[in-house]
Symmetry: C2
Subunit: 417 residues, 2 copies
């Protein structure tokens, strides 16, 4: 894509930083910079209310759809035909203040700065926050944007049961964010998501901007191993059917699979629950999750195959029953080459150092890529730390990313596909 | 010990079975034969109240000591100089109805049958239930009997904090079982505990009575691994400091150590907790327990040494901090040869099939062995299942065990040491 001449605005960095700080007060984790605003909790509602107030104060048209996605637009037709920014404001249980929130509040800042500049913009600008991007309380992650693009029905979303036994539909109703706007939603002209990298690459290489070419494929599997609970002192080792022994071996195997496949392949056992979970009882059952990711779909499938082979072998040896279910499965995504090239060209024109890279994390942008030309901008994460209250990005990087988002969005208002 | 001529009583098996069934209604786990009466809970209180009512109805002198141990005696001096039976009535979270309860209710039945027979018995008979034998809610296990024999101070017991944040002293007070009787308690003439085997040996070999020669040594260690929480998608495998990976390898190592040492050595990881325990977050820390047991103290120490070596090596490789603490440590115990021989001789005289064996589980009798001649009688556990609602012992085995307890206790009233 040729870079068209474009209208230009300067974002207000101070205002952006102040909003990030104010939103971070909600669900703040004492003694840290971090936040806990799990999807559809009271803290999530408070965060939503605050951002919606900011949107309304700018005179934007604000809509809430059937799964709680919120879109604010300068136009009358919502996201339809708009150049749209967006991300999420829910966090993991022990999250940082930038993950998701940056993309939403930077999008809002782009709109405020553009309105203040009183310039001629050929298309509406819009900003969204999508429901339950993290998937920490309810699978799958990126639930809201997945529903927005028609990848999951509203009915299916509302029926999802969380680990705590609550149901998405009930919780959405409870916090007042089961809205009337249609879902799937309107198709924007283009979508750009600004996000922290959540990995160590930009920080290690001292590069300001990551131009994201695509997103790793994600495979989440829950494995439940059912064995024979028994007394820890009286059951000879050879006669045990111990689900924890199986879970441990599968964890070791998952790590070996990732290391042996190499490259961007990662494997994580982030959750494991034993029952009855007592020091002197061989557990009756163990439930664990395995998170596999790769940029290459063929390799990701290979990792899944190797994992399930290992699971079956290990469980058979211990005479353990296996129940497995997929909690989430997304193929790797490639972003629109024209949007990616455009973001890179503008960044370089502005004198920013850039690096093309894949995203290791899932993002709402990968869902939006199904319905419109989409790109992403990364800014550095100190030491790559994320999903952790210690998550940090320097102010100047936050502001540089938001300014690039403004430049890219305004450039995209000039483009026709 | 020569078998003296002894007074003889016939226990009432129907009454014993009815009491076992009635006590099992308290904390009953729906749809199973099992019970959940964790120490110092409301269910534990209800169970205690019921057994105390039965003790009082027999006209026995009932005392409650400072850690909640309850002793009923036919004499005026409590357990002092008495031939004493006893065990516990607390259960693990998902326990059976016989573990502990059998020994207490059989002891009560021996006393009731003896009183009804109106025979001359040279010493008082006593029966006890000791507090918190299971240790499921508060470490260590066998807490009450350990305090009774002076192995743990009352102050230390009352200060113990449970996994749920509650304190033993508060909970004892709350359920009304922080009593006035002195602790450590009076020294009995002898102590005999009837218990289900909780292992598969008697059932497999179709033997009616296990003559217990001693108890395996027990070593409980809690290991906390502190790593670096991070995003599961963006952190390359080589840069991870993953406490779950360490916990899994340590679990595999613990099992190998037990298998390699062989014999009666067992190792169990019954409890593991991850934080934050989310599918897409490399955990910040993992806390697990390792339960090691052996009948030989030297081998048990070897197992402990090998475990801690493995822990250090694995944790160092992953750059993980280790915090370890001992939750319980008991050396193997040998019961009094005279009591053991006597139980075996009486059982054989009555035509019961017997087998000498160690106990794989810890029991209150191992504490009592510190202060008086002590023995134990095992009856078979179906398939060795215990610490499980499916725990089962046939009625005829329960009754045979209780009758042998009566015969042994009465024989011991005739003995002088």
């Amino acid at each position: 894509m040729e870079l068209p001449s474009q209208p230009s605005v300067v974002i207000n960095g101070t205002r952006l930083l102040a909003r990030i700080a104010e939103l971070a007060q909600i669900g703040a984790i004492e003694g840290t910079q971090g936040c806990s605003r799990l999807a559809f909790t009271d803290a999530d509602r408070e965060g939503r209310d605050l951002v919606v107030t900011w949107m309304t104060d700018l005179g934007l048209t604000v809509t809430v759809d059937a799964v709680g996605n919120v879109i604010a637009s300068t136009g009358n037709a919502g996201a339809a035909g708009a150049v749209m920014a967006g991300s999420h404001i829910d966090t993991v249980g022990t999250g940082g203040r930038f993950d998701g929130n940056l993309g939403v509040l930077a999008g809002l800042e782009v709109i405020e700065a553009t309105l203040a500049a009183d310039i001629d913009v050929k298309r509406p600008l819009a900003v969204a926050f999508f429901s339950n991007e993290e998937g920490s309380r309810y699978p799958p992650d990126m639930m809201g944007s997945l529903a927005y693009v028609g990848g999951m029905s509203v009915e299916s979303v509302l029926e999802v049961e969380g680990a705590d036994g609550t149901i998405v539909g009930d919780e959405l109703e409870r916090i007042g964010y089961r809205g009337p706007a249609p879902c799937p939603g309107a198709v924007p002209h283009a979508f750009v998501e600004l996000h922290i990298e959540q990995g160590p690459v930009l920080d290690n290489e001292e590069i300001q901007i990551g131009v994201v070419e695509g997103v790793q494929g994600i495979s989440w599997t829950e494995l439940k191993f059912v064995g024979q609970s028994n007394h820890a002192g009286t059951t000879p080792m050879a006669l045990r059917r111990d689900p924890m022994a199986v879970a441990a071996e599968v964890t070791v195997a998952a790590r070996s699979i990732a290391t042996d496949l190499g490259g961007p392949q990662v494997a994580t056992v982030g959750s494991l629950t034993l029952h009855p979970n007592l020091v002197n009882v061989v557990p009756a059952h163990a439930t664990m999750t395995v998170d596999l990711r790769n940029t290459d779909e063929t390799l990701l499938r290979e990792a899944e195959k190797q994992l399930m082979n290992s699971v079956q072998q290990i469980a058979d040896r211990e005479d353990i029953t296996v129940e497995s279910r997929s909690l989430a499965r997304f193929e790797p995504v490639e972003f629109d080459k024209r949007v990616v090239d455009s973001i890179e060209a503008i960044a370089q024109q502005k004198g920013l150092s850039t690096r093309r890279m894949p995203s290791g994390a899932g993002h709402d942008a990968q869902m939006m890529a199904r319905i419109c030309p989409t790109g992403m901008i990364f800014v550095p994460s100190l030491d790559g730390i994320s999903h952790n209250p210690a998550e940090h990005t320097d102010d100047e990087d936050l502001i540089a990313g938001a300014q690039l988002l403004a430049d890219a969005m305004l450039a995209l208002t000039e483009v026709t596909w």
